[in-house]
Amino acid sequence: MTGDMLPLLMFAALFLLLAAGVPIAFSLSAVAIVFSYFLWGPGALNILISATWGAMNNFVIIAVPLFIYMSYILQKTNVVEDLYDAFYKWSGGLRGGLAIATVIVGAFLGAVSGVVAAGVIGLGLIGLPQMLKYKYDKNVSMGIVMASGTLGQIIPPSTNMVLYGAVTGVSIGGLFAGGLTAGVFLGILYIGYVLIRSLINPNLCPPLPPDERASFKEKLYALRSVFLPSLLIILVLGSILSGIASPTEAAAFGAAGAMLIGLIKKRLNWEIVFSSCYETLSITAMVGWVMIGATAFGSVFSGVGGNRLVSQLAMNMPGGAVMVLIASSVFYFILGMFLEPGAIIFFAVPIIAPILARLGYDPLWVGLVFNVLLQCGYLSPPFGFSLFYLKGVTPKDVTITEIYRASIPFLVLQVACVAIMFVFPDFFLWLPKQVLGL
């Protein structure tokens, strides 16, 4: 067996364990253990402990439990319910109005944190139950939650873009500006998709029946419940923009602010405070251990040259610059399915990005395409972190197959976005050029 086959063998082993129903975190870790032991000897097993210690010392992912806790509090004090009720009343006869609300909330969560787990789970707790309550199609609802929750990856601030900029020398401000463009564009794509589909199928995302629609007075009255959540968004975003808090710290403001709103509304009680703790713990532990497994798996995978193998395959594509670009996009996409973005940025990007730059592509544009592609990896079956995170907060009777099915239309939209970026690069580079004064 040649060394080149090892990365493939690792995937095969991972798939077997996953198919047997072994929890994802432990499938990843088990493969890392077995491969590091047989390739590098018993000493190398410590990679797993390093991955664990790394997660235990990672300040940035503290945002995960903070956002989850905030979401639980908002959900249990019915603040979210009021908010969605108001949206529902205001959207009147419009089908799919709540999906718009969900995309917007997702974009705001993304503007605070770049940690995808926080976005998807937060939105899964806030938006999903509300959409289901109003008889929105389960597939569409879950899809919109995953897609919008993942937006934080490209809407600034984004840790991955900072890393990408540092590795390639591309302007981080430019990436942020382009990410904002791409993020908003994707959000609009998602909204457009839901609106069109519900236009065709009246039962997909039903509006209020005509006789139950709210009068203008009722609508105004409902606006009251929008006030406090909006204040929360202002508090969280404001704490970052005013320099009071770093993005991670802002998540704590979100959690504290949610409790404050609950107090103001006189709905917060000890039962809610505590049960939110319990549920936050369970979800965070799941996320944390998946991260440990993913890091250990990614380490061994990079160590045996998997990343490099894939990059070289892309570079050796016949057919000139365009083929190299397309092939590397495809391979980024595939790598994104299995690895944490950080690992890909550090290992595959330094190989491919300079070559694309030499072939004449704008490095900033390549960086944007790359970051959107990484985002697709979160959503692509069979292995995508957003899918798993959503599974963590949906009722037990929702199978992963349903989640896979829900993700596919949105994955197609993301790929469409990449295709549009290929055809109209100037559209996505406009804002970065303004920001950088080019």
Partner: protein
């Protein structure tokens, strides 16, 4: 290949530092006719950088080039990797002092089961401090919120600033939103890679938090090292010397980057008055002196350091550190 090693660095891929480390690996491979291969991994690919110490010891990797200033948590002796207030300004001076200090670091690493083979790179020039508010003198730094770490944090505290810890990817946003007033990272070129020129308005040059210090120590797992045949060991030292030559060239790289910073509109380079520079250095050197006096090893370190300063003509600083002229 007969022997295969893995080596990790603290450098980001694409940086000059990482290139030096990769050249080191290639040189070993070439000189051994392809029989001794060292695969070089950038920061965080195999494991978080801060795990290097344990993993080198455990043999997860056989070699590393990772900044010694990360390890005061393992042994307080590593705090002396950096020297706030240090007056050395050139690569050659830095290399000279680092080689004089070889026995100190060899012993220190050996205490923890790691073999130290010497520096692959000394920091090329004075460090900088980047800020969003003007800090034109010692007085203005008081009360500023500065992102820094290690000995540098103690130094800025001593200057009257508040210090905070921030993970690297969050520094950019923190500067952008004025969450912090200033930050130190590395030098001109790498600071630009992290995009800091997009969010700061001022650069204080020189700053005094580190001094010219050892930046890229080559450390190896003793068992792996001992099992190498002598000719491979010789090859490693030859490759190390080549890395040292290349690291001297980093100086040029940094100077070019400095010129780019200077040309940027909206960036002002601030240099403190000679009086304030002297005061800042003395505050830093006082910290170094106090730290050295804590242990017998520290006193040995101090002896080596201040003699070298004296020899190189930094007589005031040497005397400040208690150097006594030999009659």
């Amino acid at each position: 290949a007969k022997v295969k090693w893995r080596m990790v660095t603290h450098a980001m891929p694409g940086t000059e530092q990482q290139r030096i480390a990769e050249e080191f690996g290639k040189t070993v491979e070439t000189l051994s006719g392809g029989e001794f291969v060292i695969e070089v991994f950038p920061a965080g690919v195999l494991f978080p950088v801060f795990e290097t110490f344990d993993n080198l010891r455990n043999g997860v990797v056989q070699a590393s080039m990772v900044y010694g200033a990360y390890w005061p948590g393992k042994d307080p002796g590593f705090i002396l990797t950096t020297r706030p207030g240090d007056p050395l300004g050139t690569y050659a001076e830095g290399a000279y002092v680092t080689e004089k200090l070889f026995p100190y670091f060899e012993k220190l690493y050996a205490k923890h089961g790691i073999k130290y083979l010497g520096h692959a790179m000394v920091s090329p020039l004075y460090e900088q401090l980047m800020s969003v508010v003007p800090i034109r003198n010692l007085e203005e730094i008081k009360g500023k919120k500065i992102r820094t770490s290690g000995f540098g944090a103690r130094f800025y505290n001593a200057l009257g600033a508040t210090t905070v810890s921030l993970p690297a990817p969050e520094i950019y946003t923190a500067l952008q939103t004025n969450n912090i007033d200033a930050a130190e990272w590395t030098f001109w070129d790498e600071n630009m890679r992290m995009g800091f020129h997009e969010v700061v308005k001022y650069v204080i040059d020189p700053a005094f938090q580190n001094g010219t210090c050892e930046y890229f120590p080559l450390t190896v797992n003793p068992a792996a090292w001992d099992s190498l045949p002598q000719n491979y060991k010789d090859i490693v030292f030859a490759a190390l010397d080549r890395a040292r030559y290349m690291s001297a060239m980093v100086y040029v790289h940094e100077i070019k980057a400095r010129e780019k910073w200077k040309e940027m509109e909206g960036i002002e380079i601030i240099t403190w008055s000679p009086e304030d520079q002297k005061k800042a250095r003395e505050i830093g050197l006082k910290l170094v002196y106090d730290e050295c006096m804590k242990t017998p090893e520290g006193k040995e370190y101090l002896d080596i350091y201040r003699s070298a300063l004296w020899e190189l003509g930094y007589k005031d600083e040497a005397k400040f550190l208690g150097y006594e002229e030999k009659k």
